[in-house]
Structures are given as C-alpha cells and as structure tokens.
Symmetry: C2
DNA sequence: GTCTATATTACGATAGAC
DNA sequence: GTCTATCGTAATATAGAC
C-alpha cells in the first residue's frame, strides 16, 4: 500500500465540489473559474482530472440515473400487485432522491443545450415512462380512482416527488428520512387510491 | 391615429420572443446572439428596445409575480373559511400559471446569479409564505388532517402545482383548462382534508 | 429602427515549466 | 499534480452610419 490518505483530488472528489457549484449557480452559469475557486486549485489542474466541464456533468447525471433505474430492479418493484409496486417505487424514489440529492437535483435541471444534457433528458423520460406504465397497470387492476386521468396523475406525482430537490436539505436522522418517504406516499396515494 | 399595425418590435413583443428562448435554453445558456436570431433582428437592434439581457428577465419575472400576487387580493382569497380560501388560491394559482405559462416558468427557474434573480426569488418566497399562512390557518380551524406536517404539505402542494410548467403546453379549450385546476385541487385536498 | 463594425471582457481549453 | 501564461472563441455591450 502507498500513503494511507492522499490530500489530492480524484475525479470523484472533484465531482462532489463541481456538482455543488453547478446546483448553486446552474450548469451554464458556472465557469471553470468558478469551479477552480471552489476546489482551491487552478483551472488547468481541473483538466488533469477530467476532460472538461461536460464530463463533470455526465458523471453527475449518470450517478443520479443509475440510482433511479436500480429501483426498478429491486424485488419490491417486481413482485405483488401493480398498485403496491408503484407505491414501493414512489417511496424508494424519494429515498434515492435524498441519498443522491445533489446529483438528482442537477439531473432534474438540465435544459438540453449539449449532447450530454439531451442524453440525460432522454434517460430520465425513460424512467418516468416505466413508472407511468406501472401506474397504468394499477389503474387496469381497478386499484386507482377512476375519476382522475392517469397521465395527469403520473405527472403530478412526479412533480410532487421531484420538487423535493428545491427545498430538502440533508438530515442526519435516518428516521426523519424514512418519515418523509412515508408522508409523500401517504399524501399521494390517499388522494389516488380508490376508497374501500 | 397612425398606421393601424406596425411591423416592428416593442419591448413587450420582443419580451415574448426572449422568454420563449430563455425557457428553451435557460437564461444563462441564452446569448444576445441567440435572441437576435430568434427575433430576426441584429443584436444591436435589441439594445434599442431594452437596456440589456437582464432587463428582459426583470420584465418577465415581474409579469409572473404580478399575476400571482393579484390572486391574494381577489375576493375568493379574502372571504370564507381558511380552507376554502386556500383551495381557491390553489385553483387560481394553477390558472394564472397556465395563463402566464412562459413567464411563470422562467420565474420558477431563476438561480440567483444576478440582483434581478435574487429579487425575484425573494418575492416568490413571499408569495409562498402568504399561502403557507393560509394553510396554517386552515389547520388551526381543524379543517386539515392532523397527521401531516403543515410546512411539508405546503411544499409538496406547491411542488405539485409548479411542476405543471415542466410539461403543460397551452391548450385552446377553456373547459380543459378549468378541468386541470379542478383536478389539481381535487387531488391535493382529497389527500389533505380531514375525512368527514 | 435597424444595420455593420468593433471594443472589451470572459470563457473553455492547452502548452509547457516545475 | 499543480502551476502560470496564453490561445482562440464567444460573450455583452457600444459607436456611428443609414
């Protein structure tokens, strides 16, 4: 082994700094100079670790997308009635959003000006589509209220969940985080689920 | 009277072009060159109508904020039980958001990099605060479920409403627009309001 | 009111020393 | 791995002709 702890940047540690600044100023509003100041190294040193600004964006949104898509492969999203699977995905989406907050925040804000941004938007739409299918299956099972359009409900549900990135700030208390996911699912589905 | 119809830009008509481009590319991602191409006039001609890029932003977010604050002065937001007032404000906020869609969209996306952006964010927080107070009054009246934190509910409600700007596209059918406001209020309050 | 031409600054990225 | 110096481009904005 070499020295126990290196006090230099890796692409990953540099990424965490960059994502914070991207979220504060917006991706387009952040210059390499801004990143350089925030990281405490010169502009050219950043290029030693990553190819450029867009690579930092790609790494960040990839991390967010990987976290979201992994939810769909979990047992809770694959077994049981559709309404229970979509409720599970709702809770887990909130949890992943909180666990990877800065990365998902950045993902939700890309505008499509670069190839990387357009790729991220397409992958995100794919995730939304997968959840919309689940919600559609739950409706077909007769487990959702019939007086609400399913596409509209999907969009409002995602709108509610995704809005968390605009105000939620990391909390050390694990119980508090579980509570949040429960409240969101509770609020969403007590409005959605057919009375019985 | 002069000629019935001038085929030249006013600050207002130029604004509608600029806001569209701002929403497509993001404010920071839009250059005066982009605006010039979209408007079909040269960069320097734009400066004949407005002082610069930031003035276009200020005019846009002002229009959005004026529309939102006007809701709070309407009779429906001032009379009756708090729970009915907040439901009225919810419906009207959806309607104003749709009526002034590109302007509100831009307002909801400002990041705070300029003085104009920080002013807009502060005014928007003020509006949110006013609605949160209404929701608090409704809770004090005992008209809302007691198992949901009121601050969290306010944020999720706004998150749901504001997410409309991410997917809603103008629709000529007035009934469709009324329907949307009803559905949002329905979904939100059938989850929020105490069973009776 | 619109244009071309340009001043000036900021940006992303590279060269090359240490 | 980090630096200073710099390149080439694109940005906001202005000058001044028509």
């Amino acid at each position: 082994m070499t020295t126990a702890r290196r006090d230099t940047y890796t692409p990953e540690t540099l990424l965490s700094v960059a994502v914070r600044v991207f979220n504060e100023r917006g991706y387009d509003g952040t210059s390499m100079e801004h990143l350089s100041k925030a990281a405490g190294i010169s502009k050219s040193s950043i290029y030693h670790h990553v190819a450029g600004k867009e690579e930092l964006l790609r790494r960040a949104v990839s991390r967010a997308l990987d976290g979201l898509f992994a939810i769909l492969d979990e047992p809770g999203a694959q077994r049981g009635r559709a309404v229970e699977r979509v409720e599970y995905v709702t809770r887990r989406t909130v949890e992943v959003l909180i666990a990877e907050l800065p990365y998902v925040t950045l993902l939700l804000r890309v505008r499509g000006n670069t190839a990387t941004e357009r790729w991220a938007m397409e992958r995100r739409r794919e995730f939304d589509h997968r959840v919309a299918e689940l919600l559609g299956a739950a409706a077909a099972d007769g487990d959702l209220r019939s007086d609400v359009d399913i596409r509209l409900a999907t969009r409002l549900l995602f709108g509610m969940i995704n809005s968390l990135v605009e105000w939620y700030r990391p909390h050390p208390d694990q119980a508090e985080r579980d509570q949040l996911a429960e409240t969101v699912a509770h609020l969403a589905f007590d409005g959605l689920r057919k009375a019985r």
